[in-house]
Subunit: 316 residues, 2 copies
DNA sequence: ATAGTCAGTGTAAGCGCTTTCAATATGCCA
DNA sequence: TGGCATATTGAAAGCGCTTACACTGACTAT
C-alpha cells in the first residue's frame, strides 16, 4: 500500500508493520518509473557543468551526488562545454529526462533562457553566476573579494607591478576577479596598467600563447595573479621552460585552490574556493521542494587566501 | 502514435510526416517515464566508481557520459569508495533506478555478487577486473604489461635496485602491476628483494607514511616504480621535502599518466592508461542491447611507456 | 440519543506510453 | 472476379504506481 511507503500519516501502527513485513518477505522494490509517472516527480536532478572531468567540477559533482543520494534522489550530469548549442542540448536532454530540478553551471546560455526555464516550472539553481530575476536561486562566490585578496597579498609582499592573466572576460566570475584586482590596485595607490593584463582560458592547456605574450611584452612586473589554478599551472610551465622559479623572479598566485596546488613545487599560493560548501548548498537548493523557504537573495560564499611558496617578497 | 517515434517499419510515409508535423506544432515531448514503464526499459545506465571526483574517474565518467548521451541514454554515477557496504549500497540505489545496465569499477564487491547481478538479468560491464564467469563483460588493462614496461624502463636506464610502491595488493590491478615488476626483474636477472616493496594506496594523500618507511629502510635503491601517479606524486613530495630531485638521485615512474604528470617538474614518467578508450568501450558494452554480439572474452587494453624527465640514467 | 468529526481503510481512475491483436485496405494470383 | 497474402491502421489492455474519493466505525459535542 503506497501510503505506507510514502510515510502517510493516516495509517495504523499495526498495518504499517504488517506492510513492512510483507515488503521484506516478498523482496518488494518500488518501481521508480511508475512512481514518477503517477506522481509526476522523478526524484532526479540534472546538472550541467562545463566539463564533467574538470579539476573543479569533479569535487563539485561528487558533493552534489552525495547530498542528493542521501535523499534517494539521483543526479544526471551533462557537460555543456561553455558552448551555447551544447548547453542548450544538455538542458534539453535533462528536461526530457523529467528532472525535478536543474543545477546550472553554464556560461553561454543567456539569462533569458534560464529565466524561461524557471517560468516553465522547472526548479533551477544557478551556480557561479548572478541573474537578478533569479536572485534567490543563485549561488556564487564573492569573486571580487577573491581577486582583491590575491592582489592585495602580492602588493603587501612589496610587488609594485602585478600582472593579471584573467579568465575569459565574457564570464562574470572572470570579470569580478579582475575587478577585485583593480580594487586592490586602487587601494594601494598603484596605477592600473593595461599592458599587464591578458585574457586566458579557464580550461587546461589553452593559454600558453597568451602567457607568452604577456612575458614577452615590453613591460616589467614581478608578480602575476592568475584567474584560476589552471592558468597558474601554465605559468609554472612557462617559467620552468625559461629557467625561472615561481616565487623567485616572479611571484604567482592562482585561484580555486585545486587539489594539485599544494603538490606543485614550489607550492602554489591560491585563493580557496569552497567547492564542497557550494556543491552541498546547490544540492540542497535543488531538493528544496516548496521553495517557499526564505533564501538569502544575495548569497555569496567567501573565498580565502592560501599563501604558499609561489608568492614571496619582492626581490628585484 | 508511438510507431512513428520508435521508427516502426510499417507506417506509411504520409502518416509518418503528418505525425512529425503534429509533434512539432504541439511541442510534443515523449514522457520518458511512461516509456520506461510501458516498455520496461529505462534508457539509463548506472556506473559505480571508486570516487566520482578522482583524477582517474573524471575522464572516464566524461567519456562514458558522452558516449551514452549520443544514444539518448543517461548515466547515473555513484561512488563506491572501495568499501563493501558502500558499493552494495550504490548498486542497490542504481538498481532501484531501474538502470538497463551497470558499469562497475568496484574493488570490494565479491565476484559472486556481481555474477548474481548478471544472473538476475541486469546487463553488467566490469572494468579493471577479471571475473572468469563474466569474461565477456570484463574490460581491463594489461596491468602486468604496464608494470613490466615501467620496471624494464628503469632497469634499462641502468638501475639495479628498483623499489616498488604498490597499490593495495588486494586489488587485482595492483597485483598485476606488481607481477609485471617481478617479471622484468627476472628477465634482467635482478634478484627480487622484498625490502624494496611497500604497499600504498591508490587514493590521494594517504601513502606518505609508507613512502617514508621505504626511504628510511636500510636498503639502497636508485629508482622507484609507483603503482599509480598519485603515489608518484607523493614520492615527489617526499623527495622535495628531503631536498632530492626526482630523476636525479632517485628515478621515479608512475602509472596511469594522469593529466598532471606532464605538469610536474621534472615531468613525471608514467605508463599511459588508455582511459578514454576504456570508457568508450565500457559505454558501448553497456549499450549493447542484445549481448549476442561476439565479444573478445579476454579483452585487455595495452598500456604504453611515457618516458619523461623523472626517469634518467643511473648516476650513483 | 443524534448529528457531526475524523482516523483508518478500500476502491478505482488515471499518469502517458508500448504492444498486442483485431480490423481494414491494398495488391496479387489464378 | 474471388480468394488470399500482406501492408497499414485503430483500439484496447496493461505497465506499477499515486491519489482523490467514498466508506466504515468509533468517538465527541450537543
Amino acid at each position: 500500500m503506497s501510503r505506507v511507503i510514502n510515510g502517510h500519516k493516516r495509517v495504523s501502527e499495526a498495518n504499517r508493520e504488517r506492510v513492512h513485513k510483507a515488503m521484506k518477505e516478498l523482496g518488494y522494490r518500488p518501481n521508480s518509473f511508475a512512481q514518477a509517472l503517477a506522481s509526476n516527480r522523478s526524484n532526479s536532478v540534472g546538472m550541467v557543468v562545463t566539463h564533467i572531468s574538470g579539476n573543479f567540477f569533479g569535487p563539485m559533482l561528487h558533493t552534489v551526488e552525495e547530498t542528493l543520494r542521501a535523499q534517494g534522489v539521483h543526479l544526471i550530469a551533462a557537460s555543456g562545454y561553455d558552448d551555447l548549442e551544447k548547453e542548450r542540448d544538455a538542458v534539453r536532454f535533462l528536461l526530457s529526462r523529467q528532472v525535478d530540478a536543474l543545477i546550472l553551471h553554464t556560461n553561454a546560455l543567456p539569462d533569458d533562457e534560464i529565466i524561461e526555464l524557471k517560468q516553465q516550472g522547472t526548479r533551477v539553481v544557478v551556480i557561479n553566476r548572478f541573474i537578478p530575476e533569479l536572485a534567490e536561486d543563485c549561488i556564487r562566490l564573492d569573486n571580487e573579494l577573491g581577486g582583491y585578496l590575491a592582489t592585495k597579498h602580492l602588493l603587501d609582499l612589496g610587488h609594485k607591478k602585478v600582472a593579471h592573466i584573467s579568465g575569459p572576460l565574457l564570464y562574470e566570475d572572470a570579470r569580478d576577479r579582475f575587478n577585485g584586482y583593480r580594487k586592490a590596485l586602487d587601494e594601494h595607490g598603484v596605477e592600473f596598467d593595461p599592458r599587464l593584463i591578458v585574457e586566458g582560458s579557464f580550461m587546461e592547456d589553452r593559454s600558453m600563447p597568451v602567457i607568452e605574450k604577456l612575458f614577452k611584452r615590453d613591460v616589467e612586473f614581478s608578480a602575476v595573479f592568475c584567474g584560476n589554478d589552471n592558468l597558474a599551472l601554465q605559468v609554472y610551465d612557462w617559467l620552468s621552460q625559461n629557467n625561472y622559479i615561481p616565487g623567485d623572479q616572479y611571484s604567482v598566485i592562482g585561484f580555486d585552490d585545486m587539489a594539485f596546488a599544494r603538490h606543485l613545487r614550489p607550492r602554489l599560493s591560491s585563493i580557496d574556493f569552497p567547492i564542497i560548501t557550494m556543491g552541498k548548498l546547490a544540492a540542497e537548493y535543488a531538493l528544496d521542494k516548496d521553495s517557499t523557504r526564505q533564501r538569502n537573495s544575495n548569497l555569496r560564499l567567501e573565498p580565502s587566501l592560501m599563501a604558499r611558496d609561489s608568492s614571496a617578497n619582492r626581490r628585484c
